[in-house]
Amino acid sequence: MVNKYMIDAEHVVAQLNQGRLFDFSGGVHPPQQKSLSNTTPINTIQEPPVLYIPIKQHIGTQGNICVVVGQHVAKGEALTQSSNPFSVPVHASTSGIIKAITQHPSAHPSGIPEMTITLEPDGQTQWQLMPLLTDYTKVEQVVLLERICQAGITGLGGAGFPTHLKSNPQKPVECLIINGVECEPYISSDDRIMREHAWQIKQGIDILRHIVKPKQIIIAVEDNKPQALNALKTACLQDNGITITSVPTKYPSGGEKQLIQILTGEEVPHDGLPIDIGCLMYNVGTCFAIADAVLHGKALVQRVVTLTGQALAQPQNVWALLGTPISHLLDIAHYDPSKQLVKKVIMGGPMMGFTAVNDTVPVVKITNCLLVPDKQELPDIEDERACIRCGLCAEACPAGLLPQQLFWHSKAKEYDKAQAYNLDACIECGACAYVCPSEIPLVHYYRKAKTDIKHIALEKEKSEKARERFETRQARLLADKQAREEKHRLAAEARKKTMDNKGNDAKDKIAAALARAKAKRAAAQNNPPTDSDK
């Protein structure tokens, strides 16, 4: 059955060629700060003295650690393995010795320690490459998917969903969309990778084309990145199957659902996935990593990270090894502590990022930016004031939600009502909080409500399981008791029976004895004793 919302790739491309784009409701225009970091090439930096590699850097389950402390590992060697399809391995970001396998502060808003492998680089940078699949068009899709999984590739745009799962759609793919929008202010990592490595991105797109067989391919780049757009156009000059389009600068047009709406005019259902309407979206950095894995046999061990903010003397983009502590990157960019009252590093952009708990937190697969603002740049959140019901948040919401209602209900912990207003459709872009004149950290409330709802569901599931186990146990105890009673009853009956039997025996014996005695007496009377007997 064909979904009625399924897009028609030919129609979409024809519209794009006529220069027709759609728009999503809401969105904001924060001041652009990309020029801080996007003017210099991506810097290849010195290896840090130590790497902290968390064993789980994606959405899904973690693998099992397959190295031991003291072991020497080569660059690109897998540190974890698993046969679980929701698991992708992590790799040694460079060659060196495993120093420890311990808990280490995580690149997560909570900073709660996570299992992390500490690696001390030996300075040799010896690669352990996987066999090259240069002639990938002659290789089966499943082999390529396996390679993408083994290379540890997850979506590098932000969510960290395993790429091999996404690349195995069960529905026909109309449009393969390559996302080069990068709408967060400040961040320029995708911008630089598009400018400098457009060819390799093109190679990655070709591999994806072979795997998912889309009808059309669209590359979208925001119009504040003309050089990146030109570089991709040059790389795709010979290829008629790829449409490169420039979309107007607006936050958050890089959001998956928002970009699909801009390009196709169709909305992804709030409880659905882009594939439900025939779209599949990849970040440009993911395409680069796929080409690296398939054509060069390299696992995902590094990514482009934007180091930016007024407290850095040399903002730039760098190739950071996964696991590099952020303190090392701050040194590279010449962090000036005098520009900040307290050391504060934001992982991710100003709209969706979070404050890192300390500077030993490592760069992980989804870390696209470290923002180190000075005192005036990003002032601390002031005390929130009462909501004045101005409605600006509803105008700014790109998902068409009612942020005020969500706020009331989230704050009052009326989660069922918040869910009735589609809290789970919130993409946490921060547009509502950005426009709020009362400085209410709206997204905070939503994130708290979301984690609470998840927690309640988890507890519910657990208590359901406990109830089941309790009842099973009760039933078992009851059955045991009944079995025991039954056994006792049977034993008692048997005993009684034997007693009865024994009783009969005794009677018989007595009767027999009496009979014998009687017979004897009778015999004595019949044959009186003779003298000869005397």
Binding site: I112, E114, R447, D452, S463, A466
Partner: protein
């Protein structure tokens, strides 16, 4: 005659309607969710017995029969509020006689000290302890409800109740503590 006709008509109508009503009472019988099941679904299923009943289901039964709703410390105020909503009564603070609301804990057996007496296994209401006579016992953490019932029977006191540590997956966002703040505001 008129009287007789009227009586007959009314009587026939009464019979017909009675038959229809009787039939629909059987045919369209509404299976109401029994109250005990509904109450049981709200209770935390810790099976700890702190309420004075041997498990959550018996307490649910007692509430349905009119017992107080504030005797469940593991459920705490949240559960009391839900029970109050369901029963249509005013929520009350937790009854201190039955214990206080605590952080979630699980049992942990110091295995080196375990003598293998199986007493804790018999006490566990959800079969979350594995082991055999004269063999070391251990707790299946994922199944443990933290009910505390295994601690008292242990003759060598080798069972600890350990608070569950949050992981990034189970962590609950605190507001206004400065942890994980989202920056958002820009003045430049």
């Amino acid at each position: 005659m008129t009287l007789l006709t009227a009586l007959l008509i009314i009587g026939t109508l009464a019979l017909i309607f009675g038959a229809i009503l009787g039939y629909s009472a059987i045919k369209f019988k509404v299976e109401a969710d029994p109250l005990v099941e509904q109450i049981d679904a709200l209770l935390p299923q810790t099976q700890c017995g702190q309420c004075g009943y041997p498990g959550c289901k018996p307490y649910a039964q007692a509430i349905a029969n009119g017992d107080e709703i504030n005797k469940c410390p593991p459920g705490g105020d949240a559960t009391i509020k839900k029970l109050a909503d369901l029963m249509g009564v005013e929520p009350k603070p937790l009854d201190g006689d039955h214990g206080v609301e605590d952080v979630k804990k699980v049992a942990y057996i110091r295995e080196a000290e375990c003598i293998g007496c199986t007493k804790c296994i018999q006490a566990c209401p959800v079969d979350a302890i594995i082991g055999a006579s004269k063999q070391m016992h251990t707790v299946i953490i994922d199944e443990c409800t933290g009910c505390d019932l295994c601690v008292a029977p242990c003759p060598v006191d080798c069972i600890d109740m350990v608070p569950v540590k949050p992981t990034p997956q189970t962590w609950q966002w605190e507001l206004g503590k400065g942890v994980g703040d989202i920056p958002i505001k820009q003045v430049l």
